[in-house]
Amino acid sequence: MSSTDISINKDVHHAHEEHDHHHDQNFFEKYIFSQDHKVIAKQFLFGGIFWGFVGGFLSVIFRLQLGWPEATFAFLEPIFGGWIVNGKLDPEFYLALVTMHGTIMVFFVLTAGLSGTFSNFLIPLQIGARDMASGFMNMLSFWIFFLASIIMFWSLFLSTGPAGGGWTVYPPLSALPQAISGSGMGMTMWLVSMALFIVSQLLGGVNYITTVINLRTKGMSMTKLPLTIWAFFLTAILGLLSFPVLFSAALLLIFDRSFGTSFYLSDIYIAGEALANTGGSAILFQHLFWFLGHPEVYIVILPTFGIVSEVIATNSRKPIFGYRAMIGSMLGISLLSFVVWAHHMFVTGMNPFLGSVFMFLTLIIAVPSAVKVFNWLATLWRGNIRFTAAMMFAIAFVSLFISGGLTGIILGNSALDIQLHDTYFVIAHFHLVMGAAAFFGMFCGIYHWFPKMFGRMMDEKLGFVHFWLTFLSAYLVFMPMHYIGIAGFPRRYYSWTGFDAFNTFTDLNSFISIAAILGFTAQLIFLFNFIYSIFKGRRATANPWHSNTLEWTTPVNPGHGNWPGEIPTVYRWPYDYSKPGAPEDYIPQNVPFSQTQSSNLPYERDLE
């Protein structure tokens, strides 16, 4: 154990770590119940990829129904059995599909899979720590997530189907098991799974925050942190403050469903029969849900802000433009994300004045978002750009974020929202800005940090094929949706052919479905590349991208404890790329200024 560590781990933790070094870990300790942040990160990554394919597959199935509403799908019977009735998708099955697609993608892939992977992997490596503050709680976080995953996955195979009330599970639909079959056992399991999921997120979150505050190596001040760490840090804070509110909301919903309370229920007739519940409010649930739900979209997108900033700076061989503005805009976005939730509820009959307040706050988010976009563009501007697969995804991320963000300004208007609410315009907006964009950020991160994770490189050519097919299909799927959305085409409808207004969109819907199938198929290329490269990829060097951050100062395959010797000390910010006068176009963070006399700026230390 190095001497630098002692001041940090005064506790049992220290003794425990020392203990780990002395005996050989068996298979279970090393790969299954591991407390090493790198292994836990990979576990989250594999989990996320698995869920990503499940979620994507579900979307392909309901796109079949939307694209070819008159066709029969008898060939699906061997997979879905009773859910295919006379070759047609059961309508309640369709609702379950869209519900589970949303739940899986938002929570299990883009929250657990994204933060779980990159926060776990990069926080200790980039701040110069041996591991997370509490390896045990970190392990617990993954295994509780695993338990939540099993319950959610199991619910897919119930004969009454998984939850079907939409991923937002609004009561009274979700609260009354007799309403639809998707509100029965599937909904119960959804709630149990989500409660566990929240516990897992909180365990992970306190760990991320504490690690960033307490375990930074010598010299790693808050303003020398790579932007990834700032992003993960703020993401963890958002999760820590918003998930508990969903937890409360879910507990109350469990009581309404199972114990006869009336928190969300009042004056309901179902099948001609009046229910005894009085006094509750369904709108109350929406407030609680969206108090989580809105920060949740930033929990999804903030980590990718960090990843993309890092990858763009590295591959443009230029310092990130406006480092402090980037931090400031992330702080601003995090703060604002807590005070805009009711823009999801403009049409619930809320006071129009209140609506205008939320509209005002919502539109302010465009400012920090634009700061970030301009900073990325300015970083790219006249850069010495290297088009790696990760860089392609990073640039495409910026493109998708702009396209999706612009429609956010439209949707944020409470008056325009009356027309656009619950149409495919909303679907197009959030899929571009937080769905596709976050996925691109995640791919960007996987391609970029794959060498550090597995010691091998992913295949660049396959990466490009994967990129172009994914990029094209993302736009081909979501651009036409704006068009049908403006025409009023409603989301979550199983069948729309009965409405004359929407029949003209048959071809467009088939087109979207074909693009969606193309996009899903392209992910198989990624899967092949990913698995193949783990075993057979080209061996990586210690710093293949010539990057400045600390993770690249570790050996090719960092062991438990990350650095074999002492933890490196940090002297400079992480973005000294192409510094005038320096022999190389990068200067890692652990190089002292005394070794770079030729490139030191006057008053270098005062400028930090």
Binding site: T4, S7, I8, K10, D11, H13, I127, G128, A133, S134, M137, L202, G205, V206, T210, T211, I213, N214, L215, R216, K218, G219, M220, S221, M222, K224, L240, L241, S242, F243, P244, V245, F247, S248, L251, L252, F255, G260, T261, S262, F263, A276, N277, T278, G279, G280, S281, L284, L288, F291, T569, V570, Y571, P592, F593, S594, N600, P602, R605, E608
Partner: protein, 248 residues
């Protein structure tokens, strides 16, 4: 340009890394952040209480003529006026005041335990932890009585429009007022009670460790401090629950 020696050394300010900028170990920080998030859980529940209450009518008549009715939210003094052994006597909020005092007293003994831990005085830590466990358990016992009384109801009950009477409260009906009043009472005080119970379990665990000298060998009683943070938080939440349910 500075000399090379200053260029060689990293900065050593509070936030420059390699130290604990908030002067707290990772365990304590984790507890603080957990409590912050738990505060949001309770915050959400108390907001639910506030909104539910405001969607019901208040009682507008004279307090002396107050009767239980599903038409209006009850006056707390009229609901919580029983005391064990004083059947039929109107003692508004007397019992809950006693409960609150006991819980606050347990916070005091907890502070004393933490303070004894700083002095590395094992016997004092044991003594004050014991008192804290005792007061915490008494609080839980009081809550059990309070719940039992709330569930059983008063002798008069509530007269319904069809002439029947209902007694006590459960999750679906409530003699004291709208069903939601009982739902929220059970849920929020129950949720808080679960926290107190977890706290007592934690206290028992650290008590056993203290007796076995685990912390003394470790050289510090930080675990007592961490559980203490949790315990004070649970007390603080009770002050808010008390205010919401019993005072306003």
């Amino acid at each position: 340009m500075s000399t090379s020696t200053t260029l060689e050394a990293p900065k050593t300010g509070t936030w420059d890394g390699g130290n604990e900028p908030l002067k707290a170990s990772y365990g304590k920080l984790m507890m603080w952040f957990f409590l912050l998030s738990d505060a949001f859980t309770f915050g959400a529940l108390l907001i639910v209480y506030g909104l539910s209450r405001h969607s019901h009518l208040p009682y507008t008549g004279s307090p002396d003529d107050f009767t239980f009715s599903t038409e209006w939210w009850p006056i707390p003094e009229k609901v919580f006026n029983a005391f064990p052994g004083f059947h039929g006597v109107d003692l508004p909020l007397a019992f809950v005041a006693l409960m609150t005092m006991i819980l606050i007293l347990s916070s005091v003994t907890m502070v004393l335990a933490v303070e004894a831990g700083h002095r590395m005085d094992k016997n004092d830590v044991q003594k004050w932890l014991m008192w804290t466990i005792l007061f915490g358990s008494i609080f839980l016992g009081c809550q059990a009585w309070e719940w039992a009384h709330f569930i059983t109801g008063t002798d008069e009950g509530m007269l319904l429009a069809d002439g029947t009477r209902i007694f006590g409260a459960n999750l679906t009906m409530n003699q004291y007022g709208p069903p939601l009043f009982a739902d929220l009472f059970f849920f929020i005080t129950g949720f808080h009670g679960t926290h107190v119970l977890s706290g007592v379990v934690l206290l028992v665990m650290i008590f056993i460790n203290t007796v076995n000298g685990v912390y003394h060998k470790r050289g510090h009683y930080e675990m007592v401090e961490k559980v203490g943070l949790y315990w004070h938080f649970v007390d603080l939440v009770w002050v808010f629950v008390f205010t919401f349910f019993y005072l306003i």
